[in-house]
Symmetry: C2
Subunit: 338 residues, 2 copies
């Protein structure tokens, strides 16, 4: 567990003492951030750049927070001025935003938000589930107060743990709550003691999955061996190749502006020149699973996830070959039916 | 996932449609039962026979329920009349009780509670984390409305999943809540859809750990192969042997009445005739870990867990041999220091 804390501090680029892995999937990281930092009746501002903002809003409402939202046009990022206007208007205790929204494939800049949040005295929480380890994220340098990821995305460990980190400022908020954290299982005052994040003896809170801990430790160790900069560059190179190849075939990407694209999950408009469901099915038979859309992209786009261990040019080439072959096959079948 | 649902229905002895595994440890099963069945301001009655009742009371308070408790003298069970008096007095929406409390080693009868609960129109929830698969538990026959376990106890799978089941009555309560379930992650209306418990298509809720699912499926398959009756008998035989051997050596069991003892976790008074910490340490060096006390038994008793795969007479014999050898060693060392 100590090794994992070290590995996570490296991945998050933080010195935060309260850094650990929650016993649950990425969703439980979202729950832990919202339930620890918000109290009933408090204002939260949630950025909606895809499904995950909606999910956070749903969770925060259940915890009794007053939920305000600011939404981007789907497929684009929120502009700094839009965020600043919303923060100034809402005066939230917490501003929540997703760095890489896997439903839309949008990469939201989060390096420039803390100045705004400090000006209006609000905490800044960032979801990095689909981005941590693949795109730059500097928790301390960027002044981020809470962040969480999933063990099974870029880190490539089995699903079931949610890396999470809280800044000293967020930690103080947690320790000075007027009401107890609403969920015992995610009460960071207790979970932090089990992970020995405070100057106290380790105290049992729940049975952490040893199996998953070993997996996460290995995933973090692989990331540290490679080095963050190299991993980020590798993901960027693969994504660029993928964009080029897809456009060469005639696909249109959902996120127009290349700088706004999340390199781990590429969203692509469903084409009108081939029966897409048949193509996806044929690809799956060759061990390549391409996801459907989700939330704002449901029925409009499909999603290609290339991350972590899989983020190699070989994988991109293989995917493109299978894709082209599948399109050819479906076109032939369609033609033969005419 | 369908196989797991079938395996869990066998383990719980139920036909409940809403039977699945929560993505979290045993604790998250407790959270799921309380958060789905209680709404703010509602009365809950919690039986305290050890640490786990206290834990449930803590959780329920956080969810805004009005918590009432009825406690046994530690090391003994609650009598039926005590329970009936408390239910009649409190008139709770939900009565919560632990079948096998691993902190005290007490086995609470739960076969005779539903008549009382029906009379006072309250739901009956039973924690079977430390007991399911090792002692008789007939969810449907005994009229139990909610029950949950842990994947890593008797079932012997890796920790990280919490088997859970709700009766049709409990399900109706969940579906007619006035307020949304307070925690999205455990909202059974949503989790139940992902597990295809309702007549609807499977709908994504969160990324379930495939690794843990395969482990749990295997654990359930092993239980089904052996058969519940045989597994229960095996645990009983081992426990009886363990009690006899411990008493022969001169240990005193924390739970006086043999019928009140939980066969999976045996609580034993710390002896005054040998330095117990040294014995436990010496045993650990021989790969036998004996736990300290917990909650009411902390500092008073130690705990021997023999369950699932380990519940064999060979294990008991090995444990007793190592225990005797360790006592001999510690006595010799102590004598040589005098």
């Amino acid at each position: 567990m100590d090794d994992i804390k070290e590995g996570l501090r490296y991945a998050f680029q933080t010195k935060n003492v309260l850094t650990l892995a929650i016993s649950g999937t990425g969703h439980s990281g979202m729950e832990a951030v919202l339930s620890n930092l918000l109290e009933p009746g408090e204002n939260v501002l949630i950025a909606i750049t895809g499904t995950w903002g909606d999910r956070a809003a749903d969770m925060a409402r259940r915890y009794g927070a007053i939920v305000n939202t600011v939404s981007s046009k789907f497929g684009t990022t929120l502009k700094l001025s839009e965020i600043e206007d919303a923060v100034a208007r809402v005066r939230p205790k917490l501003f929540f935003i997703v760095q890489g929204d896997s439903s839309t494939g949008v990469l939201q800049p989060v390096d420039n938000l803390s100045a705004i949040c400090r000006r209006y005295n609000c905490l800044l929480a960032v979801d990095v589930v689909a981005s941590l380890g693949a795109v730059p994220f500097y928790m301390d340098r960027w002044g981020i107060d809470a962040a969480y990821a999933g063990s099974q995305k870029v880190l490539g460990a089995p699903p079931g743990l949610a890396p999470i980190s809280f800044s000293p400022r967020a930690r103080d908020v947690i320790f000075s709550r007027k009401t107890p954290a609403p969920v015992y299982y995610w009460d960071m005052k207790l979970v932090g003691r089990q992970w020995k994040c405070f100057d106290e003896d380790r105290i049992y809170h729940h049975t952490i999955s040893s199996t998953l801990l070993y997996g996460l430790r290995e995933g973090l160790s692989i990331l540290a061996d490679e080095g963050l900069e190299h991993a980020i560059q590798r993901h960027r190179t693969c994504a660029k190749r993928l964009y080029n190849e897809l456009e060469k075939i005639g696909f249109e990407l959902f996120v127009e502006n290349e700088d706004d694209r999340l390199c781990t999950v590429t969203t692509v408009y469903i084409p009108d020149w081939v029966t897409w469901d048949d193509v996806a099915l044929y690809m799956r038979r060759q061990n390549v699973t391409v996801s459907g859309g989700m939330g704002p992209t449901a029925g409009k786009a499909f999603r290609i996830g290339i991350m972590g261990y899989n983020a190699t040019l070989q994988t991109v080439t293989y995917l493109i070959n299978v894709l082209q072959e599948s399109i050819k096959h479906v076109k032939l079948v369609t033609a033969s039916k005419l």
